[in-house]
Structures are given as structure tokens and as C-alpha cells.
């Protein structure tokens, strides 16, 4: 386990480049995609009071093996290497590798189902937050008419961080509806509900009252946030809207805004986040 943690990043890079070499030569319904995005989060520290905001610059390289569509059952693969640099809280900058093999079923031409386990390794500047995660996603999508589509998904995620206060298990359900307005422009709106553990920051453990920490909650001081961090069960509601535009067959942009509301024993917090991205598929 210690070996795995120590060499996790190197192992992930090695796997990624092996995949790169293997899949670049076999391009059956496969896409490589790269891109950069700039985003913001109005409550980067998940604070209940006095939230801090930050802006980040991210980049990713991903490989997607989509179903060929030639049969009702096919396999999929998504592998992604990504990184982000946070301008204010530099220690939140991270590099991550995600691998998600899956199976797609097409019970009907307007209805698809995808089942996909996933594994993720994330190295964060604040090493307390570095984590290995695994889980599964089950998603369904329906085509409604020519241009409208809808989807639903469920995600189970178990993330184990260096420090237990940042570890979490969550169950998330989401729904979305999208419309292709033209061959090059779409919009999408989605809602996600999640129940599970989450870290949250408070100005000082004492300020929330000693009772807050006498129920077995983990807490510790974070030098990154310069605040106390607690872990508790939360209910999270997120509403997001996004729009995408294809500049060419290969070059595309996405813009997204998400409002998130988090409710837990310690209180309620909210955040506004979003990003603008420019991607290239080849």
C-alpha cells in the first residue's frame, strides 16, 4: 500500500503513456482529446462562513473509446490525464489520472445504457488531499425527437485521501436534458443530488461550539486554507447549465455554470462555479 502511494503518480503516467502508444495505432471509434480550461469557484474551501474564492487554469488529455454502434453491446474506455493550477490557493493545484472502462448496451435506438467502473489517482499540492479513488457510474440516455436528449446517472465513489478528513464515500444521482440547436451548438441543463461525506472548513473549531466535534467527527487544521477542517455527512444539490460550440470538426468550446448548495449538521453553504474550455479532438 505504501509502495502504491509512493509510486502512484509514476505508475499512472506509465499506464497513460502505454495506453497512448497502444491506442494511437488502433483508432476504432476512438478519440483523443486535449484541452484547456479556465474556471472559478466562489467557495473553494467549502466554508460554512467566510468562504474563499479562487480561479484555476486546467488542462487535460483524454482518450475515449466510444461504442462503434455496429452492435447493441460494445465496450468503452475513457482514460484521462489532467492537471490544474489554482492561482490563489496554489496548494490545491493537482495532477490526476482517471481510467474508466465500461460496457454500453443499446436496448433501443433512442435509449443507451453505460456501466462503467472507474479508478482515479490524484496528487494534490496539499498532500493531505492526495487520494486514490474508485467507484462506478451507471448512466442512461434517451434521444427525444431529432434534437433533444435526456439522461440520468448514478455514481458511487469511494475516495481515500492521505488524511482521513479528506476521504469520502458518496452516492450521487443526476439528471440532465440537452438540445442540439444546430450541428455546431448545444445547451444542456442538469441537476445532481449527492449524499455522502465531505470536508468543510470552519473559522475555528471552537467557534462552532465544542458539541460540534463531540459526535465523532474528524477534524484537523489545514495550512492550505488556514482554517479548521471537519468531515461530516452532507446532502449536496447542484444545478448546472452548459453550452458547447464546435468551431471546426476538431476544435470546440464549452462554457459551464453550476450552483451548489451543501447541507450538513454544521450548517449550509453554497457556491457558484464555472469554466470556459477550449478543446481539440484528433
Amino acid at each position: 500500500m505504501i509502495f502504491c502511494k509512493k509510486y502512484a503518480l509514476k505508475i499512472f503516467f506509465a499506464i497513460f503513456f502505454c495506453l497512448f502508444a497502444f491506442f494511437f495505432s488502433s483508432t476504432v471509434s476512438a478519440e483523443w482529446e486535449t484541452g484547456a480550461k479556465i474556471g472559478f469557484d466562489s467557495n473553494i474551501d467549502r466554508a460554512i462562513d467566510n468562504e474563499q474564492s479562487d480561479t484555476y487554469l486546467g488542462a487535460y488529455l483524454s482518450f475515449l473509446r466510444n461504442p462503434s454502434g455496429e452492435s447493441r453491446v460494445d465496450w468503452t474506455l475513457a482514460a484521462a490525464l489532467e492537471g490544474a493550477y489554482f492561482f490563489r490557493f496554489e496548494d490545491l493545484s493537482y495532477g490526476a489520472f482517471t481510467l474508466a472502462p465500461g460496457i454500453t448496451l443499446i436496448p433501443h435506438r433512442v435509449w443507451t445504457i453505460n456501466i462503467s467502473p472507474f479508478f482515479q489517482g490524484k496528487a494534490v499540492g496539499d498532500s493531505d488531499q492526495s487520494a486514490l479513488a474508485y467507484g462506478a457510474k451507471i448512466s442512461m440516455r434517451q434521444q427525444i425527437g431529432k434534437d433533444v436528449y435526456a439522461g440520468q446517472y448514478y455514481i458511487y465513489r469511494d475516495s481515500r485521501a492521505e488524511e482521513v478528513v479528506y476521504s469520502f464515500i458518496e452516492n450521487a444521482f443526476g439528471v440532465y436534458v440537452g438540445k442540439n440547436w444546430s450541428r455546431t451548438f448545444y445547451t444542456e441543463i442538469g441537476y445532481e443530488y449527492s449524499h455522502g461525506d465531505s470536508f468543510r472548513t470552519v473559522d475555528s473549531p471552537d467557534s462552532r461550539g465544542p458539541m460540534r466535534f463531540s459526535r465523532g467527527k474528524q477534524h484537523r487544521y489545514s495550512s492550505t486554507f488556514d482554517k479548521a477542517v471537519i468531515k461530516e455527512k452532507v446532502d449536496r444539490h447542484s444545478i448546472g447549465v452548459s453550452a458547447g460550440f464546435d468551431w471546426t470538426k476538431s476544435l470546440f468550446s464549452t462554457v459551464n455554470y453550476t450552483y451548489t448548495d451543501v447541507e450538513g449538521d454544521s450548517g449550509t453553504s453554497s457556491s457558484h462555479s464555472g469554466f470556459i474550455s477550449l478543446g481539440y479532438r484528433f
Binding site: L9, F13, F16, F24, T27, S29, E31, W32, E33, T34, G35, K37, D41, I44, Y56, G58, Y60, L61, P67, S68, G69, E70, A78, A80, L81, E82, D91, G95, A96, I106, H108, R109, V110, N114, F118, K137, S139, R141, Q143, G151, Y153, A172, G174, G178, T184, Y186, E192, R236, S238, G240, S242, G244, D246, S253, T254, T258, S273, S277, G279, F282
Partner: protein, 197 residues
Amino acid sequence: MSAPRMGLAMVRLLKDNLNRKIYRAVSAALLSLSISAFIGAVAPPVWAQEKDTVLPESGIHYPGGFDANTLGEVRGKASDPVFPATGPVQFRLISERETYVVLASPKWYWKDLGVDLSAGKEVWVRGSKSLGKDGNLYIIAQELQILPHGESLAFRGEDGYPIWKRAAAGAGGGRGSAGSPQRGMGSGFGGMGRGKR
């Protein structure tokens, strides 16, 4: 050096080391992206790059052999439908002037469309015309209508992209990958900006 100062120096050293690690990771990611962008700049776009099957009798590339420059419409009588285990459903289309072989879609998609093509039915087909290496005329179907009052059935979009592939491609979830990376909202595994297709 006093013990507290030494401790402070060690903490600073540790922090610098961690920062170096993350910067190295981000740098490696950005380097990968640069390499990819370079490869991407010289590689053909994905639509042209997807691997096709070459149909043995005709030598036509499937499903990518559609050419919008050879688009045509043919009306005639359908006969001899063939449902191969792999590759497109085919049938013969006898018009007043020529006989064509129509290449449609995979069997599952044809079945879902509920096409009833009993022999002798009159149909209208729009698609990309091509001469096969076996000397037969082929039409890669974009749209099919069973006459006189049948519903119009689409196999390919306006750009010739197979609709059955488009239906399968969106299975992974929404394309908008919402949320902040710090929050991990789940509509995308890695926060990818999945492109339109």
C-alpha cells in the same frame, strides 16, 4: 540552529518538496498536451480517421464510405434483403434505368426502425452513389421511404454521419461536465469537455 528553527526549516523543505511534486505533475500533463496538440495538428480529423471495414464484394468502405458529392435519389422496387451478422443490411433496388445495391445500417438499427421491406415494395432512397469493384452500382443510404405513404426513415445525418453511431456515442453521460474540480460533481469522470458529435 535551535530546535524550533530547525523544525520550521524542515516544514518549509517538506512543503517545497510537495510543491515540486505537484508542479512536476502539472508540467508533465502540460508537456503531454503539447505533444498531443502537435500530433493533432498533423493528424486528420477524427471523422476521417475512424477505422472502416472494407466490404469484401464491393470494396466500399463502411460505414465511412459516404460521399456527399455523389448524393442522388432513386425510386424503384426493393428485393432480396440480406441481413449479415456484421456490416450493413443490404437489398436490391430495381429502378427504371439501373439496378442498385442499397447499403443501409447494422441489423439492430434496421430492426429498431421497424422497416418492412417485403419483396416488390416500391421505395425511394436518397444516398451516396458508388461503383463497386464487382461492377455493381451501390447506394449508401441516407434516407429511405417506403412508398406510397411510408414514413421517412433516416440512416445518416445531413453530413453523412451514421445516426446509429451517434446514438451509441452519447452513452457515457452529459457533455457539459459541470462543477468545480474541487467539488467533484459527477457528470464527467475526469471533467472532460466531451465534444459534440
